[in-house]
């Protein structure tokens, strides 16, 4: 595919524009203010989860437990609201949960030096299992009038609040990635861990930090999702695993790490969001949507990955 590979965000932007044009042509309701808000609303949770995943992938690692944590956090939020009357305090509580899970994965990865792929696979299982144990597999209802839901979900003059949260998260992540030492260290770990270690970087500590951040963000995404769906349903976070990794990679952050950033992930998440929204509007069966999404992801990754530089992906 020599010559077709385009630099950085150009491909992602082009795809975005193409999708918008195609869907607008197929259904005139696509390009309306209402629908744009719908797209934003639908992409917000993914954006938050994928932002956390971005840091992990920038480092050259991977977090397979994202989806599990999104679902698990949402369920815990529901339980805290329904059974323990936490109210809005459920939000920070769930963030703490994310930190704990992140610390677990992060410690095993950074200090015990187990590969991230395997550690997070294990964490995935543990979190899903514990969530099931917690609610016995039965969804938890969350009442819409609660402060929790109004804080995270709801609209301000029609503009979805959930998207404001997502935008805030993205902006903060961008600033962290490019203007803080933590962010620069993430790129360094992905760009050359050995080089970074020789330059005095506390490698293990920062690997752990990355997982703490990713855990907290995945949990926040789960809290937002629960508010949006007004329930904590087992398995509701599952699709976010593939979607978050796809969003990161399609946006232009390489799986081998060292390049990219949260701003790229925005593009990737929007592509997925628009794809879902557009296919819905056009009336495509949800199951077929899965198939389409899979093909799109493969195509996008194939065109954006620099295969000459990829050494680890076999």
């Amino acid at each position: 595919m020599r010559g077709i590979r385009l630099q950085g965000p150009v491909l992602a932007l082009l795809s975005l524009v193409l999708l918008i044009i195609v869907f607008s042509a197929m259904n005139h309701r696509f390009f309306s203010v209402d629908n744009l808000f719908n797209i934003l609303r639908g992409t917000s949770v993914l954006l938050v989860a994928a932002s956390g995943a971005t840091f992990i992938i920038m480092m050259g690692s991977i977090d397979l437990s994202v989806g599990a944590l999104v679902g698990g956090a949402g369920i815990v939020a529901g339980v805290l609201l329904r059974d323990y009357g936490f109210g809005a305090w459920a939000i920070p509580a769930v963030l703490v949960l994310g930190l704990i899970v992140g610390a677990f994965s992060g410690f095993l990865f950074a200090y015990v030096k187990l590969p991230s792929f395997l550690v997070t696979l294990g964490t995935l299982s543990i979190v899903v299992g514990l969530s099931d144990v917690l609610v016995g597999g039965i969804p938890v209802q969350i009442h819409r009038e609660q402060l929790y839901v109004r804080l995270l979900g709801g609209d301000i003059h029609g503009f979805p609040v959930i998207s404001l949260w997502a935008i805030l998260v993205v902006v903060i992540c961008y600033i962290v990635a490019f203007r803080t030492r933590f962010g620069r260290y993430m790129f360094a770990l992905g760009g050359g861990e050995r080089v970074a270690a020789l330059a005095g970087l506390p490698v293990r500590r920062y690997k752990l930090y990355a997982f703490l951040v990713a855990g907290a963000l995945a949990a926040f995404a789960g809290a937002l999702l629960a508010a949006r769906l007004s329930s904590g349903t087992p398995g509701m976070g599952d699709s976010y695993l593939l979607d978050s990794i796809a969003a990161v990679v399609m946006g232009g952050t390489a799986l081998s790490g060292g390049v990219g950033g949260p701003h790229r992930t925005v593009l990737g998440a929007l592509i997925i969001g628009i794809l879902s929204n557009g296919l819905n509007l056009v009336g495509v069966d949800p199951f077929w949507q899965q198939v389409v999404k899979g093909f799109v992801v493969i195509l996008a990754v194939a065109m954006s990955i620099d295969r000459k530089q990829v050494q680890i992906i076999k």
Binding site: R181, R184, F187, G192, V195, L201, G258
Partner: protein, 507 residues
């Protein structure tokens, strides 16, 4: 008049924006060794790529024993009898030796349809290796063997495959085979090549001019994609070759010996009784401000590990290290950095630079902890200014400070590595093979830089495999063998010991 084995005429290779080869004419006769030299970027590798089919020339033609030769790839050229032996060895480390020897040519040993007669493969491999004077077990796993042995295995592969394909006398392209080899290993390689000359022809690419003069029958000199000279060892010397390669007379003062200091400041680094198992024992040395202390020794002498211990990479080593008179109690990387000790590793690509990251991020890496990122928030303004400052000071040739490191030449990459540490205001530099794989012109620039640093009072520990560099650059040298220091001597300007006398203590 010997017969022509391979002829290349008018070989031109264009890449977007760059003409890598410009109307190159080259001949290789039967049973000869043709040396190919040139600076990095002169086109040697590209020419070998064209000869071995890995790249196709934009213009030009090749004739192999009179027949048109246009290989479609590495495998195809091997089928025609042109074999490429790579610098980094194209052997699969976890396979057995005989499996590597016959890699992708296993079909000659098929029995019962899909099965392989492994015993026959191993036995054949053993015989072929013995012909080269290599007495090794063909059923052993390849990675167990040293780099030099693996190089020979790769040459054996070239000869063996040719035999089995029915090709009488192959053309073997040796791409910098001696880059990772020490003195004795190079001799073994040369013996093998000389022995094989009776049944093969060779193209020998190397940066080391004495070797090219020793082994070749004829020499081609390349510069900027062209062949600028064709000569023989009898008619050329290192000096003339160097001048042809670089385009200017080799400055007699290659190592800037005239800038060597005669007086030094206070003792800035002292090492006493440093030991680490059997790798090195009881190593002591001292470095004063402005002094360059060289450590030499063959592979396995322990000098690399001594360098690492001083840098704080081997905190388990026993002994004492004093910086500016103060004993360093915990000797980790960060602790030594804070005391002003900096280290440039020998493996530039894996330990020295982050290839995929831009120049400025590479340069500021060691300063993020203390300078640009002390509060956790990055001072991008200061970073930008200092990076620009050092790019200019060290003469780093780069389109911009955001350029990715892999676009820079080896010499410029190494300058960035040096800048990385100079930015930390290091007072002691431990350099391990700082000019490895860098062309002559860039080397001179780095020597100039190091002299300048010495003038400013920086103490330098120079660990290097390049004997001439060791003697030429250092004020004093230590030679190590099997983990112990076997010789210490002064190497003042005007009274440098000969390489012969120093080598005696190394082997």
């Amino acid at each position: 008049m010997a017969d022509v084995h391979l002829t290349a005429r008018g070989i031109t290779k264009d890449y977007p924006g760059v003409r890598a080869l410009d109307a190159v004419d080259v001949d290789v006769f039967e049973n000869e060794v043709v040396g190919l030299i040139g600076e990095n970027g002169a086109g040697k590798s590209t020419l070998l790529n064209v000869l071995s089919g890995i790249t196709r020339a934009t213009h030009g033609e090749m004739l192999l024993r009179g027949e048109p030769f246009l290989p479609t790839g590495y495998h195809d050229s091997m089928l025609r009898g042109v074999d490429r032996v790579f610098q980094e060895q194209a052997l699969v480390p976890n396979l057995r030796v005989y499996e590597n020897v016959f890699l992708s040519h296993e079909k000659h040993f098929r029995t019962w349809g899909a099965f392989l007669d492994r015993r026959k493969m191993a036995e054949t491999a053993r015989q072929e290796l013995a012909l080269l004077g290599l007495d090794i077990d063909p059923t052993a796993v390849t990675e167990k063997f040293s780099t030099s042995t693996r190089q020979l295995i790769e040459i054996a592969r070239a000869c063996t495959i040719s035999t089995w394909l029915g090709i009488e006398r192959p053309l073997i392209l040796l791409d910098e085979p001696t880059a990772s080899l020490g003195g004795a290993e190079v001799d073994v390689l040369f013996d093998v090549v000389r022995k094989l000359k009776a049944r093969a022809s060779f193209v020998f690419v190397s940066h080391r001019l004495p070797e090219v003069l020793a082994l070749s029958d004829r020499i081609y000199v390349m510069k900027d994609g062209r062949v600028v000279a064709e000569t023989t060892p009898g008619a050329a010397s290192e000096g003339t070759l160097h001048a042809l390669m670089v385009g200017r007379e080799r400055v007699a003062d290659y190592y800037r010996e005239s800038r060597q200091r005669t007086s030094y400041g206070q003792e800035i680094l002292a090492v006493e009784g440093l030991s680490h198992g059997r790798v090195f024992t009881d190593v002591s040395l001292s470095v004063r401000e402005g002094e360059i202390v060289g450590i030499g020794g063959v592979l396995g002498s322990g000098k690399t590990e001594v360098g690492r211990a001083i840098a704080g990479i081997l905190p388990e080593a026993a002994g004492e290290i004093r910086v500016c008179g103060q004993v360093v109690t915990t000797r980790g990387i960060v602790e030594m950095m804070d005391r002003g000790v900096a280290y440039t590793p020998p493996e530039r690509h894996t330990e020295g630079v982050m290839l995929g990251e831009p120049v400025d991020w590479n340069m500021s890496l060691a300063c993020l902890r203390r300078t640009f990122g002390r509060t956790g928030w990055l001072d991008l303004g200061m970073e930008g200014k200092q990076v620009a400052d050092y790019i200019q000071r060290l003469g780093v040739k780069t389109p911009s400070r955001r350029t990715r490191m892999l676009s820079l030449s080896g010499g410029n990459q190494q300058k960035v590595v040096l800048a990385k540490w100079l930015l930390t205001s290091a007072r002691v530099l431990v350099l391990d093979n700082p000019t490895h794989g860098i062309d002559a012109g860039a080397k001179e620039e780095i020597y100039e830089l190091l002299r300048g640093l010495a003038d400013e009072g920086v103490g330098i520990v120079l660990v290097t495999d390049d004997l001439a560099e060791l003697i030429g650059l250092s004020d004093r040298i230590l030679v190590m063998r099997d983990g112990k220091i076997t010789w210490r001597g002064d190497t003042p300007y005007g009274a440098k010991p000969s390489e012969k006398s120093v080598i005696a203590s190394m082997v």
